[in-house]
């Protein structure tokens, strides 16, 4: 294994960190359409293109639907491909998200998570990508700009793994991460090149009876994206589920390989536990809020409260085993959702964490807080109330409200 080398510390916001990582990954095609709060990614990357710092073919499309379609087409030729979007832009891609995953095109997409209209709102929550949770894309949510940078480097390696070959979303919280400057430690171009490597292609059997790499190639013609009706469609969907299950292992491997060269890891790549081993109560969250929650856990620990935190980093594929192992012995769990599943009795993360625990030996008491919609602030003082409610439930054994709204005027 490669030894850790010196890294350069740069002041970057989340979007710039993503753009820099994409630059270092030697991407063949970037097709994108600007949308707040993702715009800086594409702006910054177009500067690299204009300055001749990258060899990338940069395609300015007329919509997000076209952007993802161009990426899919480029990926079909064997090209390494990237795009970025948010909110309404991601929603406009909806149709093509399924075509991309169904075509097994390992497109990497950064999403600067933002609320969906109406009413119009440009600020951060998880409504956009949570709504795409069944589109067949891997989804990883990051805590800070450093992780945004690191996760983009990992994303190409995960998506392009021949046992996975699926597109991937790296979600970073709009404004909180996308527009906030942080110190980011950056690997050298050479290290990134060695880590990410060239795009690998899985093998397929063509109508000519040849087993060849999966890409459009005049010397080895193949039919991509054909019709499959009652006879074969179901089988192709089952393959996608298998690829998702393979991704669980690959994400863990890539996380630990990356730790060896960079000195940074994010739990096991799937979940990141913080002071949870002996905890009695814990909060589960996705994204940047975990930074604040860790501080509160530290405070509570000093006060003698056995509190912990679990950050769900990989949301698709859902790491059911990892969730079960980390959570089943707790007394009270609070799940934080930064998006709504209207009429669904709680948010998406709540549903899924609760599902993961159903087959466990113990069933901790579990409640859900919806918070931060449309960028609504969630201060440490506010978030502390969440732990206090968990402490109250642990003490009394009684849940008063299963689903609550944090920071909402009631």
């Amino acid at each position: 294994m490669q030894k850790q080398q010196k890294q350069e510390t740069m002041a970057l916001n989340g979007d710039e960190a993503v753009a820099l990582a994409v630059k270092q990954c030697d991407v063949d095609v970037v097709a994108a359409y600007p949308i707040t709060p993702q715009t800086i990614i594409v702006e910054k990357f177009s500067e690299y293109v204009a300055n001749g710092e990258v060899q990338t073919e940069f395609v300015c499309t007329e919509s997000e639907h076209s952007a993802i379609t161009a990426c899919l087409a480029a990926a079909a030729t064997g090209a390494r491909t990237f795009t970025a979007s948010a909110s309404a832009g991601l929603a406009l891609m909806h149709e093509m998200l399924f075509v991309t995953s169904g075509s097994r095109a390992p497109v990497v997409m950064a999403i600067a998570n933002r609320a969906l209209s109406a009413p119009l709102n440009i600020h951060g929550d998880h409504s956009d990508s949570m709504a795409e949770r069944d589109s067949g894309w891997i989804q990883i949510y990051v805590e800070n700009a450093q992780e945004a940078y690191d996760s983009i480097l990992q994303a190409f390696k995960i998506a392009e793994d021949t046992g996975v070959s699926l597109p991937i979303i790296i979600g970073l919280d709009g404004f909180t991460l996308s527009h906030t400057l942080e110190n980011v430690d950056v690997l050298s171009d050479e290290m990134v090149k060695q880590f990410v490597g060239e795009r690998q292609l899985p093998s397929v059997l063509t109508h000519e009876g040849k087993t060849v790499p999966y890409k459009l190639d005049p010397d080895n013609p193949m039919t991509m994206g054909p019709i499959a009706l009652q006879n074969y469609y179901f089988e192709f969907k089952r393959q996608q589920e298998e690829a998702m299950q393979n991704a669980l292992k690959v994400i863990e491997q890539v996380n630990s390989e990356y730790a060896q060269i960079s000195g940074r890891n994010y739990g096991n790549g799937l979940v990141e536990a913080y002071k949870i081993d002996d905890a009695e109560i814990a909060v589960i969250c996705v994204g940047s809020t975990s930074g604040t929650l860790k501080t509160i856990v530290d405070e509570l620990r000093q006060e003698g409260v056995k509190a912990g935190l679990l950050r769900l980093r990989t949301f698709r594929p859902l790491p059911v085993e990892a969730l079960k192992n980390a959570l089943e012995n707790l007394e009270v769990i609070v799940v934080m959702d930064k998006s709504m599943s209207f009429g669904g009795e709680g948010g998406a993360v709540f549903h899924e964490v609760r599902h993961a625990l159903y087959d466990g030996k113990n069933h901790p008491k579990i409640i859900n807080y919806i918070y931060g919609l449309g960028g609504r602030d969630h201060s440490p003082r506010e978030l502390r109330k969440v732990f206090e409610e968990a402490m109250r439930i642990a003490k009394t054994g009684r849940i008063e409200k299963q689903i609550s709204y944090l920071g909402l005027r009631e």
Partner: protein, 94 residues
Amino acid sequence: MSSKEKTWKEISMAGVCSRSSTGFMTGDWKTYMPTRDLEKCTVCLTCVMLCPEGAIRFRPEMKKIEFDYSFCKGCGICANECPTKAITMKLEQE
């Protein structure tokens, strides 16, 4: 489904076809079919060039054209464009 069909573990990913699509007869649902009057046809090959499905073939040895009804969708472009009106569209069921 027939037991001859392959399982999800046996097929290539993403719907890549393991057989040529020419084995998939796509012309079995047309309403109208083209018919040709050998007397009027001058073998100018306009229809061969214009058929969007490539379902009209020129047989040089016989100096005539032939419709491949396995792929013809019955769109009628050939009949519309034929300069000598040698092609007529007829209801397939007749």
